[in-house]
Symmetry: C2
Subunit: 218 residues, 2 copies
């Protein structure tokens, strides 16, 4: 009974990690599509999204069943509650990748990004994928130390985002308002993606330690 | 025992409704601050936010205790799970109001909004507050019919957001890129606020009916 329950909790963790990998891959592909104005890749990200939606529903059902089946306590209960909360972050990560792909499709065959800011988005995409991969790994391993490292790595995204805004706000911006609107939204999508990946890491720290990182004296 | 448990679940619902009212009031005040470039009101929204953070933690603890204390089933379990999920939406609503207040503060004593788009934001603010009030009410009453009405009312926000983007993308936009960036972000914040209020309504429908609205044949 106990072993079967532990196995079901591990199965939920695996499904959450799979959701996270799908979202991270979607963001990687969406970034590629954005940088190269590649319509087929953008379309792939958009059509693949349904699968993530299905997996989301399945994760929610699994978590609910774990609560209904048996009354978990302590660490088990924290795992399930953190799982219910993480599903939401993973769902948002997938949707943010979808938004990036949709902007690429809307502007095609034109480029959504002026050349001037492409390097920022290449780097924001790299950081997003890195954080997504890290979040998937901590969901599987429950490695709190690795989760803590991810929290620190989010600063890289914040810095990139700030620099991008400086470029946009510069009087020298010569790509017009429509491009500025796209770049503003895209920047926000990458920043939020990173926030959610970090939030997943925070939840893993909580389920392992019983405390959120801000409660821990550094 | 049973009566005491039901009372604790009702207490969680009341706390969630309080969180929702605080977020809705914050968005109302943030909109007023934005439209009038009123720094004291913006500062109030920013300093009041801590209270919402405290209430969030308290809601999470209450929900967790409800699961740990007793093994709820069926409707009770759905109430607690929906509560755990709703806390996240309510937290986001509060943060989005905070973002609006922070843009107002950053631009002060200048106006963040060109006169041309003020009417859009007055109306988006009105819709956001209306949806927020509605969400608070359905959190308290668990009225699924009222929750369904809120789902339909979100269209008003989507329409406003689309119109706003048309204004921004128009070649006649003459307020420069910096204002366009602010307006883009602000529009996104109001749209997301409405999305979260609607998501809260969806969760109430789920906890009452056991099914999410999209599963129900219209």
């Amino acid at each position: 009974m106990r072993a079967a329950y532990t196995e079901k909790i591990a199965d939920l963790a695996t499904s959450l990690a799979t959701m996270c990998r799908m979202a991270e891959e979607a963001m990687g592909q969406a970034t590629q599509a954005l940088l190269q104005a590649d319509l087929p890749i953008a379309e792939k990200v958009i059509s693949d999204h349904d699968e993530l939606d299905t997996l989301r529903a399945s994760c929610e059902e699994k978590a609910f069943a774990l609560l209904a089946l048996q009354a978990p306590v302590a660490g088990d209960l924290r795992s399930v509650v953190a799982g219910i909360q993480a599903v939401n972050d993973l769902d948002r990560m997938g949707r943010l990748a979808l938004h990036v792909a949709k902007i690429t499709r809307r502007r095609h065959p034109k480029q959504a990004l002026p050349e001037e800011v492409k390097a920022y988005f290449a780097e924001m995409g790299r950081v997003a994928v890195h954080l997504g991969k890290g979040a998937a790994e901590v969901l599987e391993t429950h490695d709190a130390a690795m989760a803590q490292d991810l929290l620190d790595e989010d600063d890289a995204m914040d810095d990139l985002h700030k620099h991008l805004f400086n470029v946009l706000m510069d009087r020298e911006w010569k790509h017009g308002v429509a491009a500025a609107v796209d770049v503003t939204l895209l920047g926000r999508y990458y920043e939020r993606f990173a926030d959610h990946a970090v939030e997943v890491a925070r939840k893993v720290i909580y389920l392992v330690t019983g405390r959120f990182p801000e409660d821990v004296v550094a």
